[in-house]
């Protein structure tokens, strides 16, 4: 005697919905899969078959691509370190000092995010040219630092709100100065959260593109800009496809790392935005 069969008929609506979801996700995955497949076929000569698999495109990646990639990593790393040097004290001051201008500072720091990156890029270029900062390592690091400041500050503020002020007060009653208390008690507690935030910001810096287009130059070329100028000037090159595929692998590696440390839930739910 079995009742409760109200869904026993073919659930057309549900099946259609699931089919749609899987189709959409397949469509989104398709171009990236195509890129990876093409990278193993020496470019795009025979993208429709499994014949002609080779690593020739990877072998053809010129040293200056690797140089650009390494340059990007250096910039991203330094900018990530710098932004926390700036953001941690600011977050502490804003949270613990309960300052009136907290909202104003948040808005100020958020400005680079709310201005389109093309405008910020042009504006930074206008400023950097007379300062000799355009087309330089320092210029790119500064640009990355500005654009990730709001994210770093928001992350750190949220983390600090989670650490009871009483812990700092306890350290102070035991003779620590306020700064010592922060360094010895608060920072170690923030460390895991900060590491995750830093990972996010590092990835964001690594993939930054539209903004850097204006500041970059022959002496300071992040890999994304290099790939862009190559496709515009010389068309699709096999080695560029191989390098793009390598960036896909790096993206997958970061995804896996973040998914393992934070959980996939955060990745999907995160409203962390990225332009270009």
């Amino acid at each position: 005697m079995t009742g409760g069969g109200f869904r026993a008929g073919i659930p057309v609506g549900r099946l259609a919905l699931m089919a749609y979801v899987l189709l959409m996700l397949a469509l989104l995955a398709f171009p990236i899969g195509l890129l990876v497949v093409a990278s193993f076929q020496g470019g795009m000569k025979s993208t429709s078959g499994l014949d002609g698999w080779s690593l020739s495109a990877y072998a053809a990646v010129p040293p200056d691509y690797w140089g650009a990639l390494w340059f990007t990593v250096e910039c991203a790393f330094l900018a990530t370190a710098l932004v926390f040097v700036v953001a941690i004290p600011a977050a502490w001051g804003l949270v613990r000092g309960n300052l009136r201008e907290r909202r104003f500072v948040s808005a100020l720091v958020l400005l680079p995010d709310s201005v389109p990156s093309i405008t910020l890029g042009i504006a930074l270029l206008a400023l950097f040219v007379p300062l000799g900062l355009s087309n330089s390592f320092a210029g790119i690091v500064v640009a990355l630092t500005v654009t990730s400041l709001s994210l770093a500050l928001r992350f750190t503020e949220a983390l600090l709100e989670g650490v009871p002020e009483e812990l700092e007060q306890a350290a102070v009653t035991m003779g620590a100065s306020r700064v010592t208390a922060v360094v010895t008690v608060v920072l170690p507690l923030l460390a895991p959260g900060l590491a995750i935030a830093a990972l996010f910001i590092f990835v964001q810096n690594l993939v930054a593109f539209e903004l850097l287009l204006f500041i970059a130059g022959p002496r300071a070329t992040p890999i994304s800009v290099r790939l862009f100028t190559d496709i515009v000037d010389r068309g699709v090159l096999p080695q560029a496809i191989a390098m793009s595929a390598i960036l896909v692998y790096i993206g997958i590696a970061f995804h896996t790392l973040v998914a393992m440390t934070v959980g996939a839930r955060y990745l999907a739910g995160s409203t962390m935005s990225r332009k270009g």
Binding site: G13, V21, T119, A123, L127, L206, V207, L247, L267, A268
Partner: protein, 317 residues
Amino acid sequence: MDEPSEIETVDGRAIAGRNHRSGIAVASQEPVLQPADARRWRDRHFYRAFTLPAVSVAVGTTVLPLALLLFWSLVDQRSGEPTLRYYVQSLASPYFARTLLTTIVMAAGVTAVSIVLALPVAYVLARHTLLRSVLVPVISVPRMLPFVVIGYAIVLLLAPYTGVMNKSLIAAGILSEPVFILFGWPGQAIAFGYAGVVIAIAILTGVFMTVDPQLEDAAVTLGAGRLKAVLTVSMPLAAPGTVAAAALIFSTVVTSYAIPVMLNSRTPYMVSVLIYNNLYSLQERHLAYAQAIIVTALAVSVTTAAQFFLSRFGSRR
């Protein structure tokens, strides 16, 4: 008035003690005579000092350059005289106006289509934990790539002779020769749509995850069908997040530069290409500044309108 604040007003030192973290040491060194107000003032500046580096970075590298941009856009490039002619020239030019219009139409269309395409996917991902954990890389990996990589993928898909789309359409006998149109505005729309859908799914999944699924069950026990429950309960509750996602996609597309250039640099459909050309090819820097400010005003006003909507109707949640 609750108890703690009463204590504070009775004893001024209580306030200072609360705000002043090293209160014990200071209290023993300094006379109690010191007015609490002065100490609070000094205290605030102690904290304020820590925010200085962040504030100066923001001012030095955002406010200052933007101010310079605005200033120069109001100054004649050659004579150095103050002028409005770059704005007048831009807005009066049918070419600029048409490009701006195409850009807006493109951005609005991409936004609408992305949101509509993404809503069901985000809803399903938010409700199915297993599916979400398996399929989330499809959404998150593209966001961990420089957008130029997506551009390469789209080019491989759409390129006139070598692109997979054209090749398979020809192989299937649907086309006799490759269509270039895929490389024109439809190609750009596809590329923007790709980015838009990824952003929309990511944000909306998070939004739907904050909507209690039991509310839908409640609607169903009250007599609504499943679809009706989604439309009358979950969708309205997700509306603020949807508006935020739409605003983000719109402002991203309006000012996007790389995709139009990569997919077709000859015909500037998009206003950002125009700006780039003015800046580099034509050496009309101040004109480019003015046009950048016009586009910024457009993007910022859309975001602000969305924020206004959120503050107006977002409180419903």
